[in-house]
């Protein structure tokens, strides 16, 4: 039945483009709203029949194997949440209703691609859905047809194509080694192989490089700040919040856990790339003056934490990594919505020219403060717990150096976020901004929603920990 998560958006696209188009323009918004809310609602009932494997008539027609476990469920929740938030944000930024319908069509394509990516149980299906997501994001980045957007989209496209090619080469090598592309089949054969087989090492290396490019980790990060900062505001929320997390980081976790398995060499690479990304991403974001570029570099730094957690190779580390993906989705999309609100109300994105906006935009100011503190890992907000779990996992696995790097880089994170707060929201209100108003409801509502999630998850983490979060660790054994 969970094939419906792919098929219903697909048929929705067809329905939205059938005549009478006048009517369809108006129902588009409500349709995506219902789809995302339904997806988020179903995640809370993991035992119900919807998640069972027998897919009925469609399942026998379409040969797509799907997989549902705790990691998939939490990613499906994140996807629903961020697509919902993007939908609200887009009402402010995507102008006439005709363009809004186009935007919603593309949003549905991205939704199909991401749902498919997290549900795929086969390396090749994973590639297909990653490409669907990527192709729709290229169009979304250049949605305004501005030169900057086109340039960002072209850079993303070129690097994404190279990542795809590396991934396909790796799939071909795995096909030679194992004769199959299913996750469990490949994993079963790989366990019997000699770990020093040169073809195997090459295959693992190519796959990791491809996913590092897709997740924008240093030194493969060239496209990421450009794509984030040149995209329209609502598309930045989608890209930073969920697309690169699903296309890069989720795929990396899934491939490492369910297919390739951990080896000392691959763990060393993950830890090294993670640590380099954390430190350099934080240092680079200190030097930025553009609001969105700073957030993009901070995104690289936060993804570094996720990779560091994954690199510890223990169940606890993976729990921390997945929990941090969830938290990152929430606080980073909140920060991008804040930047969108400021850009909408003042027309300025340069942080040096802004000041004192907290007085005029109280909701934006307060929610961005919450998101910054959560990102910097200040208790009791949600980001603190996930970073704590990652660092405990690193320490108990014996990677003391990396644990210390993780703690110290937290100070850098706090530094650049406080510098952002001081420059944009605190300080004296200059005459230029005396008439600035708070953003409209379609931006304030997502801000409030995401702030509530940050506080709620943070305060109730000790309660949630046993019930939901630690349950994530069983994907390693299963």
């Amino acid at each position: 039945m969970c094939l419906a998560l792919i098929l219903i958006p697909f048929f929705s696209i067809i329905i939205l483009n059938l005549p009478p188009r006048e009517v369809n323009k108006r129902i588009a918004f409500g349709l995506v709203l219902i789809l995302t809310l339904g997806q988020m609602f179903l995640v809370f009932f993991p035992g119900c029949n919807f998640w069972k494997m027998n897919s009925g008539v469609f399942g026998s027609m379409l040969k797509i194997d799907l997989l549902v476990d705790n990691l998939t469920l939490i990613m499906l929740f994140c996807i629903g949440l961020i697509v919902l938030v993007t939908l609200f944000t887009s009402r402010q930024f995507i102008g006439p209703i005709e363009k809004q319908r186009n935007f919603i069509n593309l949003l549905l394509v991205v939704l199909i691609g991401m749902n498919g990516t997290v549900l795929a149980r086969d390396i090749f299906s994973l590639y297909v859905f990653l490409e669907i997501t990527a192709v729709a994001s290229f169009i979304l980045i250049s949605f305004d047809k501005e030169l900057l957007g086109l340039e960002g989209a072209f850079k993303y496209l070129l690097l994404s194509a190279i990542a795809t090619i590396l991934m396909l080469s790796s799939i071909a090598l795995l096909l030679i080694l194992t004769g199959s592309t299913g996750f469990s089949e490949v994993q079963a054969v790989l366990k019997t192989l000699n770990p020093n087989n040169p073809l195997l090492i090459l295959a693992v290396g190519l796959f990791l490089a491809a996913l590092f490019i897709k997740s924008g980790l240093i030194p493969f990060h060239g496209w990421l700040p450009d794509a984030y900062s040149s995209a329209p505001a609502s598309v930045s929320v989608l890209l930073a919040g969920i697309v690169t997390k699903v296309a890069g980081v989720y795929a990396l976790i899934r491939i490492m856990v369910s297919v390739l398995g951990f080896s000392p060499a691959s763990q060393a690479v993950l830890l090294l790339i993670g640590a380099v990304s954390i430190v350099l991403g934080a240092l680079l974001s200190l030097t930025q003056s553009d609001f969105k570029r700073m957030l993009a570099y901070s995104s690289i730094s936060q993804v570094g934490y996720i990779i560091l957690g994954l690199g510890s190779g223990t169940a606890l580390g993976i729990v921390g990594a997945v929990f941090h993906i969830f938290n990152h989705c929430v606080f980073k999309s909140l920060l991008f919505i804040n930047s969108a609100a400021i850009e909408k109300q003042t027309g300025i994105r340069d942080m040096d020219k802004l000041s004192g906006l907290a007085q005029k935009m109280p909701v934006t100011g307060l929610s961005s403060l919450l998101a910054s503190l959560s990102a910097a890992g200040i208790p009791p907000l949600a980001g603190f717990w996930s970073k704590l779990i990652i660092i405990i996992a690193l320490w108990s696995a014996g990677y003391y150096t990396y644990a210390v790097i993780g703690i110290l880089a937290g100070i850098l994170t706090l530094a650049y976020f406080l510098s952002l707060q001081r420059r944009v929201f605190f300080g004296k209100l200059t005459r230029e901004f005396i008439n600035v108003k708070e953003a409209s409801f379609s931006l304030v509502f997502p801000m409030v929603l995401l702030s509530v999630i940050i506080i709620g998850v943070g305060v109730f983490t000790p309660v949630l920990l046993d019930k939901f979060i630690l349950g994530l660790g069983n994907i390693l054994g299963g």
């Binding site: 297909v128 030169l147 340039e151 070129l158």
Partner: protein, 106 residues
């Protein structure tokens, strides 16, 4: 693998590697955007060839064929979008030179 299989694998495999090198050269040398896309196409062709050789060598030719049909469809979609973006850049700047679109700095 018997000797005939190995020789076929090596012949096609080395040709795929050659195509790969040509594709990388095509992307890196020169500044024309269309040329970069042709380089990407060459790389994808090299991978396609490699995938079919891999299917042949491992004895799963029918699996490899079904994968390649899917892959060709996706590749066509990707390259269509890419050309659309390049046309957009050409309309804005009047040239296809990558040196004209350096407003964003990594």
């Amino acid at each position: 693998m018997n000797s005939q299989l190995v020789s076929i694998f090596l012949t096609f495999g080395s040709f795929a590697v050659l195509l790969f090198i040509i594709g990388i050269y095509c992307i890196l040398a020169g500044y024309n955007l269309i040329r970069a896309l042709i380089g990407v196409e060459l790389l994808i062709k090299a991978v396609t060839l490699f995938l079919i050789v891999a299917g042949f060598a491992s004895g799963h030719l029918e699996l490899a064929q079904s994968l390649i049909i899917t892959m060709i469809v996706i590749e066509v979609v990707m390259i269509t979008i890419a050309v659309g973006i390049v046309v957009g850049i050409y309309r804005k700047t009047g040239s296809l030179d990558a040196r004209n679109i350096r407003n964003l700095k990594g």
